[in-house]
C-alpha cells in the first residue's frame, strides 16, 4: 500500500482513491457501511483524471 501510494503520488493521483480494509465474512453490516463510505468518498473526488488522457 505504501509503495502504491508513492506511485499514485508521483502520478498526481489522490491516495484516497485506493482503500484497504479487512472485513470478515460474518461482518455483513460493516461490509455494507464500508462500501457506502467508500463510494461516497470516491464520488466526492470525482472521475479519475487519467480517464481523459488517451495516451495512457
Amino acid at each position: 500500500m505504501v509503495l502504491l501510494e508513492n506511485i499514485l503520488g508521483t502520478l498526481g493521483l489522490e491516495k484516497e482513491r485506493v482503500w484497504l480494509r479487512w472485513i470478515s465474512a460474518s461482518e455483513g453490516q460493516k461490509f455494507a457501511d464500508t462500501m457506502k463510505e467508500m463510494t461516497d468518498s470516491i464520488r466526492k473526488l470525482g472521475p479519475n483524471p487519467i480517464a481523459k488522457h488517451w495516451n495512457l
Binding site: V2, L3, I7, T10, L11, L20, H53, L56
Partner: protein
C-alpha cells in the same frame, strides 16, 4: 580485516592485477574465476568464466558493465552450487544485487568467493564500444584513479556519476584502488576467513599506511553524496500525470529494461503474458468510451508495475537505462523512487545479508496510518 598491498610492476596496473588473479587461480583453492575480460575485438569486456590460468587476460578496471554480473552468478548457482569454490570479481552495485537475489532465493553463495573491486564507474555500452579517443576507456579510468585528470567523468553513466557507494562492502576480498598510488600498489583487503585463507600464500606485502585509504573513501563517498543530493533535487519535477506520461512517451513496451535488471527475476513476467490480449470488441469498446486511445496501452502500466515490484531492492546499477533502445533516462525516475521507497521502509538493499526484504516480513507496528483509521 587483513589489509595488504599488491606491488604494481612497471606501472602496469592491469598486468599486476592479472598476475594476482592468475596466482589465485593456480593456487588450487578455487576451481574457476568469473572476471571481466575483453572480447577479441576489444570493443566490450564481458564476464568470462576462466578455468585455465594461461587463458586469463582480464581487465578488471575496464569501465563497462554490459550485463548484470549478479544475474550471471544467479544463473550459475540457482540450480546447484559449485562443489568447489569459484571466485567472482564484481563491482559494488552487482554485489548488492547478488545479495538481494540471495535473499529472494534466486542465488546461492555456497562456494562463491566474492572479490569486490573499487569502482570508478562505467561508460555506457555504446560509448565504450565505439570509443574514438586516442586513449582507451581503461586508460581514462587509470588517469582518474591516479588523479592525473578527471576526463573520464564526462563519459560515466548517470547511475555511476551519482553512485551510492563505489566501494564494495560485502566481499571476501576487496581490490582497492582508492587511497593508494595505483601505479605503485593496489590495496588487497581480506574481509572474511575465506578471503584471508585465499590470499595468505600470495606474494603480498604489508600495508604501511592504512589511513590514506580510509580518508580517500570518506572523501569519495562525500563527493558522491553531494552529487546525488543535487540529482535528487533536480529530478523532483517529474511529477503529475502529464510529466510522467511525457517522460515515458518514448517507451515502446519492449521490456528490455526488465531483461537487463538484475532484480527482475520472475520466470514469467505478467507483462509478457497474454493478460492484455482480449477480444476485439473490448478494444473497440474502450475506443468508443474515450473516443480514442494509444496502443500499446500497457507501456506506462508496465513501467509502474515493474517499479512497484522491484523498487525496494533496486541497487541503482542503471542497466535498465543502458538497455533502453530509445534512450529514456530511466534513472531520473527510478533513483528518486528507490530513494523514497527504501527510506520509508528503512531498507538498504544489498548492505546486509540478514536484513530481510520488507515484502516478506510482517511487522504489526508498521505503517499504522495506512488503511482503517
Amino acid at each position: 580485516m587483513t589489509q595488504k598491498v599488491l606491488k604494481v610492476k612497471d606501472n602496469d596496473v592491469i598486468g599486476s592485477t592479472n598476475d594476482f588473479l592468475k596466482h589465485l587461480l593456480s593456487s588450487g583453492k578455487i576451481q574457476a574465476l568469473l572476471v571481466p575480460q575483453s572480447t577479441p575485438s576489444k570493443k566490450v569486456a564481458y564476464p568470462v568464466l576462466i578455468a585455465d590460468p594461461k587463458k586469463l587476460h582480464a581487465d578488471i578496471i575496464a569501465p563497462i558493465l554490459p550485463v548484470a554480473t549478479a544475474t550471471i552468478v544467479s544463473k550459475m548457482t540457482k540450480v546447484q552450487s559449485p562443489s568447489k569454490p569459484i571466485a567472482v570479481v564484481m563491482r559494488s552495485c552487482q554485489i548488492c544485487a547478488l545479495i538481494e537475489l540471495v535473499k529472494l532465493n534466486q542465488a546461492n553463495l555456497t562456494n562463491i568467493i566474492i572479490i569486490g573491486v573499487d569502482c570508478p564507474g562505467t561508460f555506457p555500452m555504446n560509448v565504450y564500444a565505439g570509443f574514438q579517443e586516442k586513449k582507451t576507456p581503461t586508460q581514462f579510468i587509470l588517469e582518474t584513479l591516479s588523479k592525473k585528470s578527471t576526463d573520464a567523468e564526462q563519459y560515466l553513466r548517470s547511475a555511476c556519476q551519482i553512485c551510492k557507494d563505489p566501494i564494495p562492502t560485502h566481499a571476501d576480498i576487496v581490490l582497492g584502488f582508492y587511497g593508494t598510488d595505483i601505479e605503485k600498489e593496489i590495496v588487497v583487503e581480506a574481509h572474511t576467513e575465506v578471503g584471508k585463507d585465499l590470499i595468505k600464500e600470495l606474494a603480498l606485502e604489508e600495508q604501511q599506511e592504512g589511513k590514506n585509504r580510509e580518508k580517500a573513501i570518506k572523501e569519495l563517498r562525500e563527493e558522491k553524496t553531494k552529487k546525488r543530493t543535487m540529482f535528487l533535487k533536480e529530478k523532483e519535477g517529474i511529477k503529475g500525470i502529464e510529466k510522467v506520461a511525457e517522460f515515458f512517451d518514448k517507451c515502446v513496451n519492449c521490456h528490455n529494461c526488465r531483461q537487463a535488471c538484475p532484480i527482475c527475476y520472475c520466470k514469467e513476467c505478467l507483462f509478457d503474458s497474454s493478460v492484455f490480449d482480449a477480444e476485439a470488441y473490448k478494444f473497440i469498446r474502450r475506443a468508443e468510451n474515450k473516443g480514442l486511445f494509444k496502443l500499446p496501452s500497457d507501456a506506462l502500466l508496465f513501467q509502474l508495475g515493474r517499479m512497484n515490484h522491484m523498487i525496494l531492492s533496486c541497487v541503482e546499477c542503471g542497466l535498465c537505462e543502458q538497455a533502453c533502445p530509445n534512450n529514456i533516462p530511466l534513472m531520473d525516475v527510478f533513483i528518486p523512487a528507490a530513494e523514497n521507497a527504501q527510506k520509508q521502509f528503512d531498507y538498504h538493499p544489498g548492505k546486509d545479508k540478514n536484513e530481510k526484504v520488507p515484502m516478506i516480513v510482517y511487522r504489526e507496528d508498521e505503517f499504522l496510518e495506512v488503511g482503517e483509521k
